[in-house]
Symmetry: D2
Subunit: 361 residues, 4 copies
């Protein structure tokens, strides 16, 4: 409802700017008596952290998460959990130029148009730094989902170089700095990224995500459709320009027979689906199959190569010119988006678990 | 928040089942003093109506819209506008078979799993018939947007046959039963659809949509992002499996320079964008350029060709078997989705217009 | 969120004007598989109906409720239940005068100020007629609560004549047209009402309500406090000017010892509360005791006695003057508010039952 | 929607427990470009602070407010403003006894019943300490309202000793530690409070509040009624047991003529209301008159006098007994509630200002 909150009964609210004193979030509606400690949250936050490899931004944030409320003697109390992370390596002077020029592909111009004022330091509220709080809250969401539900994501393509999906290895994916699911592809991506950095440009990427273990019946026929909520959650991640469920855009050129997910009765009485083109969601409700989602992430907008742009007063009063962004940026933001994608999916699913329980017991 | 409502300050709620006595919706939060009459709403509803051509379902619904509240002497009063349409050509006996067998690709199985009860007549609440109310409400949304904002959509691909986007003709598109933007492509699509029908199968489709005239500044940096709200609205239309904003999945294989939307200062002081890869939205906020959206729509799940499936008690107690759907179905649901896409975009934009006014005056 | 909806996971939305074609509501979020038929709803609606005695408005509405959706083979499906009642005895010409003059104590003036347009027929959207839909929806709410929870209300005072609470008889209350809990008081109230009508004036009233069987634990420590939600629900009933929980305003002149609800351990381990000054709610959460609520209802604003007022264009353009309201009005609206009070309490409690289940299982 | 958030387009969310590391809140939806600094917020927070006189709790909290986000170069940016206050004088050992015994009149028992876990230190989330954040956020709400709208409150009664409303002096009220509007009453209240403290008991109180300058037209005819929203906001303040609008419960014994707020046309065309029994709200919408609200606040539940209670495992396993609360408590919580009442009213009004702008421009 509000501009910085999402969720229906499990509600996430974040605050903070990239170069403010700290970032924070509140997760509200958490069931009581779940065990929770800072270390667990830290683990996932570290996966997203910058500076882990030469392929991500060199901003050195320690990203130490602190639980400020909602936990008593190691367990959630049902009260809102507030989490906070200090910003310790904000170098606003790197951004002085963008006080004067709008960066193409960023929210600089539209923020000024909307609000008539802009915290230009590091992109302010529109910085991808905000996603660290989603990752932190996502840990709690996973707790609500329980261990039988596994949410995971990996990079399937960087630039024009896609992995061979036949070779997808989740174990490799989860331990790799590039979240690459195929060890053979890894060195080729590294070379690609090194080259992009050298050329002063950046690369787009594609992410595949999966949620295994979601029971049939979560979601709703209409305006709380599981796929619609997931689409909003994923499209709301910085730089995402496309979202697919199941076969996605491939369905366009198929006929109804090819795209059918036929069913057989299994011994347990549960259906055996003979395919999963639907990506685990029919009519907005989970089928019990794996949820399958894909995302397109645009190349980082901040590049060293010169781009024409306009002066930052929005009225042409400032002289436009050419901008060459020199801040510390990721050559491919898809990489660091992986834990964010997992967190957003977990948050949506946890909300739907509770919503389903509300209506259907 | 609720399962049958969407919107933040302009809120749409619908009710009704495909074969119930009637369908209806409420649009709440409408500004007062807008002129509104049934005929205007009827016009758009008729565009979506079935039976208009041999390429859509032969169910003969008159779809007469009635305004039940919220209008006084031809103008909105600020009270909720309730709209109702009677169902007059529901033939539930055509659906008797699906009381016994779950149709693959439909919500039959998941509805039973979620609720433990299922109104199987015509698909009940999950039928695309519900979308008629969105089209009706969309007319009011367009009034809120005003005449300077034009929202329109067309079919860009059926099966593997795409239109040549260079030949896109909005005038042709808006008058054509197939919402085809290119007169040269039209006969080829007609042949394709006739063949699919003859073979007892169906075809997927792709829709392109545009909103022209949206000022810079609508949306929000985070959880009311314009693109995220649009993604949810479009993914929530029946059969949609993918949504793109701007260049969409094409961004994956681009570099940052190729994908940049550079800017120059125009004489008016407003920026000239040199490209629109972003699709008119940056950081969740409109840029003032055209909004550009694409959708993938799966082939109609109900086909005459036999599909294996399971018995409808969900426990294997009923004998599974083969289903050959004989009801009256569209060979390509993308066609009739076009006015629904326009309506959903208009509803989201109108909500954001009011939201922006709430915060920024 | 929206202006015509309340509830969090069980959401009620109403539409319709007093003299429009019909009134309606939607109740969304209803658990599936509850038995429901029109007759059950009709029973409660009839309790509220006008024309039942000479002490209520003589408008003759049949108030026939029709279920339009959400029920299949006698059971709720989990889809929204839409209810509709036709307006059959609207006499707008009785109201022609109020097109020209604002009635003191009514929403006429403020509606014009807010919206710049006003459906003056019968008070439009602000008419107490809208409450019929709350009563209808309340029947479903009571089903969600189950038979162990009993919500009931009665009139405890009309004008300056209060019942002796020691003589409170719920059986008498529920069968009486005036919802009077004491047969000895009844004739005195009848005389009082006859006199008020004869004098062309009206009387205020007080209502006491109770919910028995609510388990400990519903509500929330902060912004979903059970008492706060109930206060909003009751203050939102037409003509209500005060709401009390438990001892209400009597607590002001008490000390902490007098007002304490001490506890003893019962044999079952559940607490024996030695008093219920809190009215069954502590810190926003139910205690397991009876919920106790009181309301003050102002005398009907429409009276035959002349009242000075202003012309209805809101700008002084129309000549002000004296208004003597001749429509068909209740001499004491507290009477007919009783079923509305019960319905609103039931709706709030049912929402909280589901909310509690969402978070705490 | 969520349990720790209120507001529709201006949304307040709080977190933190009485004896946790800190308290905080987020205010979201704030219009951009309002000047805002910590000192302004501190001023109001100090008014509520404990330890200011011998009549309030002796807990010594400095209550230093820190703005963590949403302000850039002294102005709001439209991003959420996060505020934080450290807890520096929490003495949890004072509360050790309540780990073993439920305090009558507190949320101890119901919290355990609801969540199965309880942060007993200082009452945890249910402590009135949370209200400090409402006061802080209320300062921003007042900025949104602008200087023409004045929201103020005072204590009108302590125990059985009411002020003479004829002698109401807002200037005295605002500077007095007891928020007493009449200098003659003040010494008598001081004596009463000293006596209550000496006796180990506490006193109830009554608060009157006023909002001046609210234009006609805020609110809504139905489920965003201004009076209903205010009733929820005020009933949601700790220890409040009754809320009145305008004449409140006095309307019960009036007739329609006595209670009428007649109108005359003024020279400006705006109406002259000849009375304000409605308290400035008709049909849920502001009339342009002063808003008038009253509250009943129960005597502090924590008293030194012995009260019977039960053991804190909720199952009778712990021995019940007698509790004599020795923590640092206010003898009359109505006093410190005054700034909280003002803040809650300001927050509701600011939300309605923005809501009105959303719909009506």
């Amino acid at each position: 409802m509000s501009f910085n909150t999402f969720g229906r009964v499990l509600r996430f609210t974040s605050w903070g700017e990239s170069h403010g004193v700290s970032m924070g979030c509140i997760l509200d509606g958490i069931p009581p008596q779940l065990s929770l400690c800072q270390e667990e949250i830290q683990r996932d936050v570290n996966r997203r952290r910058s500076g882990l490899s030469r392929f991500t931004s060199q901003r050195k944030e320690t990203d130490q998460v602190r639980i400020l409320s909602g936990v008593f003697e190691g367990k959630t109390t049902g009260s809102p959990v507030a989490l906070q992370i200090l910003n310790v390596d904000a170098k606003s002077k790197d951004y002085a130029e963008i006080a004067q020029l709008y960066r193409p592909g960023h929210a600089d111009y539209v923020t000024q148009q909307k609000y008539g004022i802009r915290d230009w330091r590091g992109g302010g509220r529109s910085s991808a730094r905000e996603t660290v709080m989603r990752v932190a809250a996502g840990v709690i969401a996973k707790k609500i989902l329980g261990e039988k539900i596994v949410v995971r994501a990996g990079v399937s393509q960087i630039g024009s170089l896609a992995v061979d999906c036949e070779r997808w290895d989740w174990t490799h994916c989860s331990h790799d700095n590039l979240f690459c699911p195929d060890r053979k592809t890894l060195p080729r991506w590294q070379a690609l990224l090194d080259q992009a950095r050298k050329e002063g440009t950046s690369l787009g990427g594609r992410i595949e995500a999966q949620a295994r273990g979601v029971p049939a019946g979560w979601g709703a026929p209409l305006y709380a459709k599981l796929d619609a909520d997931l689409a909003a959650a994923l499209m709301g991640i910085n730089a995402v320009k496309g979202v697919e469920v199941g076969a996605g855009f491939a369905v366009v050129s198929r006929d109804g027979k090819q795209n059918a997910d036929e069913m057989e009765t299994s011994d347990s009485g549960a259906p055996n689906f003979l395919a999963n083109n639907a990506g685990g969601i029919l009519g907005g409700i989970s089928t019990g199959q794996d949820l399958k989602l894909s995302l397109a992430i645009k190349p980082t907008s901040s590049i060293r190569l010169p781009l024409r742009t306009i002066g930052a007063d929005g009225k042409g009063g400032l002289k436009g010119g050419v901008i060459e962004t020199k801040g510390r940026h990721d050559p491919c933001v898809a990489i660091r988006a992986v834990p964010v994608v997992e967190a957003m999916i977990a948050l949506v699913l946890a909300d739907h678990k509770l919503l389903h329980r509300a209506q259907c017991g």
